[in-house]
């Protein structure tokens, strides 16, 4: 049987070579289909990677007490009228919660920074408690984070995000230099390692971190974000969330019949939201691209029917010389699989180049081995299925009729 495979490959190759234009046109349908399917899978993988990377900024075991829920369809006016988060609740939560590992308070708003002739506008000022590193994934690359006593005394110390450091100190070491936040003077004590963007939008590197007490001293008024982050063991996050909800309600003196006037956010919400979108867009995309492959397959089936018809006489000769049905079937199946597999390989090459370009100019995307394997397997399968009916038709020809065919 192995000998037949190569013999059939030889026949198929010379047949395809003999009809170059036809073969190329037919294979183009498959090329397009495979490009569509493999690029779509690559894009979904890329977006997945991007998402997972962003999710690292939100610890899996973190609960965020916020005024606003991240997702949901509650009435905007109701949410707007909620009281703002009292950050002194952080201590009470830490005291009362049985699950909490760390509780950090956080305020944020934007302001302009400057150093000598350099300035950065609209930078996110992150005012946090000294235990903030325990609840986040920040990594101080140079210098240090501030201490508890610096926070308590409202010291004017600042840690720069990597982009901010590059903008203000293109040629100097920022550590121990004095910069201005608005009109207040701060001493740089650290620089964060590069982190990238959150979901492709908010750059984690374009922020600065100062002690929350210092923040309160400088920035007055109700504006900006306020948040309490509670880190709990990941495996108990649902119980911890219920407990936290109770604690905040008690601290706020909410009556049992009242709805929560705060939100407890967690990474899961992003994940669920994302899964929904991914399923909708990815699923639809794959169905549409699979349709293009189907169209390519129909083209193959069509041309194989033509080929069987044209070669009726040849089939008759082969049968007279001793070819069985199975051998004729195999011959045409290998031919159609060869067209689609070559189309698949070409399509794969094109989409690999395309994904390299996307990776370079748009966002992280790379052709995985799995996608490549799937593309080749899929194209060969399309060939097998598309070739089945024509090959069967050829194999069932009556040799006497076929020999007489003009």
């Amino acid at each position: 049987m192995g000998g037949f495979f190569w013999e059939n490959m030889r026949i198929a190759l010379s047949e395809l070579w003999g009809h170059k234009t036809r073969s190329i046109l037919t294979a183009t349908g498959i090329v397009i289909g495979i490009i569509a399917v493999s690029l779509m899978s690559t894009l979904i993988n890329g977006v997945d990677g991007l998402f997972e990377n962003s999710m690292k900024f939100l610890g899996r075991g973190n609960l965020y007490v916020d005024k606003w829920p991240w997702f949901g369809d509650e009435d905007w006016w109701t949410l707007r009228n909620r009281p703002r988060i009292e950050l002194d609740m952080a201590e009470d939560i830490e005291e009362r919660s049985t699950y909490a590992i760390a509780v950090a308070a956080q305020r944020g708003r934007s302001a302009d920074l400057s150093y000598k002739e350099y300035s950065s506008e609209g930078i996110f000022i992150n005012g946090v408690s000294a235990n903030y590193p325990d609840v986040s994934t920040i990594d101080v690359e140079f210098g240090r984070f501030f201490t508890g006593s610096e926070d308590r005394t409202g010291a004017q110390v600042i840690i720069l995000g990597s982009d901010v450091a590059k903008a203000l100190f293109p040629f100097e070491d920022p550590i121990d230099k004095e910069i201005f936040v608005g009109s207040s003077r701060f001493r740089v004590i650290g620089v964060l390692a590069e982190m990238g963007k959150f979901l492709g939008t908010f750059s984690q590197d374009a922020q600065v971190i100062i002690p929350i007490k210092t923040f309160n001293k400088i920035f007055h008024g109700p504006w900006g974000m306020r948040r309490i982050t509670v880190k709990v063991p990941e495996e108990h996050i649902e119980d911890a969330k219920e407990e936290l909800r109770g604690i905040v309600r008690v601290l706020r003196g909410q009556k049992p019949e009242e709805k929560d006037n705060f939100a407890i956010n967690q990474q899961k919400a992003f994940r669920q939201q994302y899964q929904g979108i991914k399923l909708a867009i990815g699923g639809t995309g794959l169905v549409i691209t699979a349709l293009s492959l189907l169209v390519g397959g129909i083209g193959i089936a069509n041309i194989m029917f033509v080929s069987v018809k044209e070669r009726t006489r040849e089939i008759g000769v082969r049968k007279a010389l001793g070819a069985t049905r199975g051998k004729i079937l195999g011959q045409f199946l290998i031919e159609s699989m060869l067209i689609t597999a070559s189309g698949g390989i070409v399509g794969l090459l094109v989409s690999t180049l395309a994904s390299l370009a996307i990776n370079k100019f748009l966002f992280p995307a790379s052709m995985s081995f799995g996608v490549a394997f799937m593309a080749i397997a899929l194209s060969a399968t399309v060939g097998l299925i598309a070739g089945l009916a024509p090959a069967r038709k050829g194999s069932l020809l009556d040799p006497i009729e076929a020999l007489r065919y003009e």
Partner: protein, 232 residues
């Protein structure tokens, strides 16, 4: 035991309500190394008999022994195997694969044989081509050959599996008379070398090359006679 033994062979087609008896009780036996012509006007059952003898078709009823094996009740795949091993076809229209060289065309039955390893195929095909004096045309495609040369390639292809019979259907029908005579001379040689040859033709002078002529009429054997050649 004769090489071919046919007993009460019927081939009946149903055409609407009417029954067409293409073969109506044919009995015939052919010995090894016989040289037989089958003749008859169109509609006489000549083609049907040839298709049956060539194992391209099965009879409606009757027995057909080839080399001691009953082929009348075989399945399609078994028939394909018999055709490959036992029968060498030569057609009026040559029926070579147009895109393949002489060598590839002659190799074809060896490929379907399954018992001949790839490395021996070329040698066997070369040997067959040399036997028909086409050793210098192995790399040519059919459209680069004359009609006579094409038919020689077809004969080499028929010989290559060393079949029990060579079945030639109007082998000179598409050739001019001079070339036709050359091809017939080749058949005569092959017969002299011990091959069994069955010739289907409607030309009396072609049929005279054989030792025996079987004449069919209305699906029955009308005459089964020896030729002058044999009588001599």
């Amino acid at each position: 035991m004769p090489l071919i033994q046919v007993k009460d062979l019927y081939k009946i087609y149903q055409m609407g309500n009417t029954e067409v008896r293409a073969l109506d009780g044919v009995s015939l036996s052919i010995e090894k190394n016989e040289y037989v012509s089958i003749m008859g006007p169109s509609g006489s059952g000549k083609s049907t008999l040839m298709n049956l003898l060539g194992c391209l078709d099965t009879p409606s009823s009757g027995d057909f022994y080839m080399d001691g094996i009953n082929v009348a009740t075989m399945t399609d795949n078994e028939l394909a195997h018999i055709r490959n091993k036992k029968i060498g076809f030569v057609f009026q229209t040559f029926n070579l694969l147009p895109k393949s060289t002489s060598l590839r065309n002659v190799e074809l039955p060896l490929i379907y044989n399954g018992e001949v390893k790839a490395q021996f195929r070329k040698d066997l095909a070369m040997k067959a081509l040399n036997r028909v004096n086409l050793g210098d045309r192995v790399g040519h495609k059919p459209n680069e050959l004359s009609g006579g040369q094409r038919q020689r390639v077809a004969i080499a292809r028929a010989l290559v599996n060393d079949p029990a019979i060579i079945l030639a259907d109007e082998p000179t029908g598409n050739l001019d008379s001079k070339t036709g005579e050359e091809i017939m001379a080749l058949f005569d040689d092959l017969h002299a070398l011990g091959n069994t040859i069955i010739l289907v033709t409607h030309e009396e002078y072609i049929a005279e090359h054989a030792q025996r002529i079987v004449r069919l009429l209305d699906g029955k054997i009308a005459v089964d006679e020896l030729t002058k050649k044999k009588k001599k």
